[in-house]
């Protein structure tokens, strides 16, 4: 009887998917993405769009935190760079949106080299600290150069025309974001099974051992940081398009924390976990609102006397609850469920 789900050959490791069931799930997910624009109302469509944008950012952070074991608190900063990296060339200079998307990745990637070179030689929390600092400095720089960034007034962003396809309706935007999400997932999966990806895992699990195996820690950490920032930058650009307006106010520092919370809730180190985490955290305020309005007028009356803060408390409790009770996150829950399903009524 099999006791767990192990990969036994290199070929299995290199394969993009594990099994037919997994392929079936992917097919279902793709089908769902394709039909969603026809089925969902604008509100749900927007909600799912936002979840997908957040998931792109989450996958980006997952490359750094989940795979390489480095903590970043600079998500906000790189998203801002990505958003402006897109908005300035496309809206101010009139460049093609494709070039904008490329810059939205390249600008944060370049910035991550600047931040990464001095800070990646240090272990532990130091990257968290320098990225935290860089997030604040980026916001400051945006405000300091109004000639380029329009300062605090921000830049309006139109929905783009990509390769002749004009993204116009909410349905179009949904499709655009879905394409980016699928591309990001594919890209990330491919990175994971490459030499670089294996080196990242080695660094995360035992950096001394990785060093002995010939992995140059600083270089590979830098690769992870650059790759992560590129993807996070893309999510920033998508977020800017979603908001139709790019300002530093649109990217509060809280996003950095939410991004980490997302990985934890979803399950560290797994792409599906990052996606699930995004779905969960973006959906949470909506669900709480629904619960509140289910209580009808009495709850609505409470709104004016500050009970809205209950939501904030709830949000914190969910994060702590997951950390305490389900450290593997939603993916862990899913795997447990799977195991029970396969093995029941046996325990092992």
């Amino acid at each position: 009887m099999r006791s767990g789900f192990y990969k036994q050959t290199i070929a299995e490791h290199l394969a993009l998917t594990d099994s037919w069931t997994q392929r079936a799930w992917i097919a279902v997910a793709l089908a769902a993405l394709a039909t969603a624009p026809f089925v969902l109302d604008t509100y749900l469509l927007t909600l799912v769009t936002l979840m997908m944008i957040t998931a792109v950012g989450g996958i980006g952070l997952n490359i750094l935190t989940g795979w390489t074991g480095l903590i970043s608190l600079g998500q906000t900063g790189f998203m801002v760079l990505g958003a402006y990296g897109y908005a300035i060339p496309v809206e101010t200079w009139g460049w093609d949106p494709l070039a904008g998307f490329l810059l939205a990745g390249l600008v944060p990637a370049a910035a991550s080299v600047l931040v990464g070179i001095p800070s990646l030689r240090l272990t532990g929390l130091y990257l968290a600290i320098t990225t935290l600092a860089s997030a604040f400095i980026v916001v400051h720089l945006v405000l300091e150069f109004p000639g380029l960034t329009n300062g605090a007034s921000g830049i309006f962003v139109n929905r783009p025309t990509v390769l002749g396809w004009t993204v116009f309706t909410d349905q179009d935007l949904f499709r655009l974001v879905a394409i980016f999400l699928v591309l990001t997932i594919l890209g990330a999966l491919n990175l994971r099974r490459s030499r670089i990806g294996r080196a990242w895992f080695a660094i995360r699990d035992k950096d001394d051992a990785a060093r002995v195996m010939g992995v140059d820690l600083r270089t590979y950490k830098l690769y992870a940081f650059v790759a992560s920032s590129f993807v996070v930058g893309l999510s920033g650009a998508l977020y800017g398009i979603f908001l139709s307006f790019v300002t530093v106010d649109g990217f509060p520092f809280l996003l950095s924390i939410e991004a980490l919370a997302m990985l934890i809730v979803g399950g560290m180190g797994s792409i599906a976990g990052a996606v699930l985490g995004a779905v969960f955290l973006v959906g949470l305020p909506e669900v709480v609102s629904m619960v509140f309005s289910a209580f009808g007028d009495s709850a609505r009356a409470l709104l004016s006397t500050g009970a809205h803060e209950v939501k904030g408390v709830l949000y914190g409790l969910v994060i702590i609850g997951f950390l305490r009770l389900q450290p593997e996150g939603l993916m862990g829950l899913w795997r447990d469920a799977q195991r029970v399903w396969t093995l029941w009524p046996l325990r092992y």
Partner: protein, 381 residues
Amino acid sequence: MKSWKGAALLAAALAAPAMAADQGVTDTEILLGEVEPLTGPPGLLGIAHNLGVRLALAEANAAGGVGGRTLKLVAEDDGYVTSRTIQSLRKLIGVDKVFALTAVSGSGQAVASIPVLKQSGIPTMIPIGPLPPLYEPPMDNVFVVGQSYTEGMHQLALFLAEKHPGAKWGVITQDDDYGAALREGIEQAKGEAQIEVAFETRYARGQKDFSSEMLRVKDAGVEVLIAGGIISENIAMVKEAEKLGITPAIATFWPGRVPEVLKAIGPASDGIYAVDYVAPIQSDAGQAFLELARKHLTEDEVARVNRYTMTGYTSTRLLIAAMQTCAEDLTWACTNQALADGPAVDTGVMAPAAFAGGRFTNSPVTIMQADYETLSYAPVD
């Protein structure tokens, strides 16, 4: 402003299918919606505003509602986060299917919402953060109640220039669109009066310590200080001035014109100037307003009434008046038209407000001065 073209196009393309004009209206009810920061420090503004809207609705419902239908409100909290504003808007329009919007959060949030508002065509009141992009060029369905920060600052600056001729000015503003609007107002005033700015600076939003700024104010010998903060920042600046022993004429702006600020500053708040387009609570009109509030709100809620309650109340009264005009044909088109053309509504707490064919009430402002004794503001003569 080239980006506007696209947005306009978008609106044109989508206006047609969005004409399910009487959504939110049943035989017995009319559902209204708003997005507000109800949590976090900005909740000070959002909650007070929400009370004003509910006051107007309660008053209208007590008088029989609109065409016999009861008015109900769905308030969404965005916590002052722009993405959630947009999210909430789509929910209100798409899921709750409200008939009209009574507010779209703060100024930055409202500006970012323009494409969504234009796309849907829903009648929308903007009683908070009246920035010019919201009414220039005017949109069919977006109605801005109040006065722009720029014009308010312009009037305040002209007043101070006349009152303190030849004085040295200091200007401290926030590094965002609000601060930019204030700076523009001063620029405008400079063209009409003699203003000499001896010290000017911007601070980062959320800054708490203003000691170096105020030292520079002192060093520059500033006699007229524009404290362009919102709430905490103004408190910090005035207390710092008190500490340094300088007594310039200090002018603040309406977002922070709440009695709590005076209380938090202490006696040094006596005599600071403020500008606003709604009446102080202690005025006769203000007291009458409180009386009305006591009738429809709980005691707890009355304690949270401030100037935002008045603006929220006035703008909702305008909306209700328009809806009453259209009671027989409660559609967006009719309501938008009625709002634009309707007669002025006089709530007592603001100058009679009307859009007169436009999309902006352009309400006149009053200069007032704080009295610490009574924790109140009174118009200057």
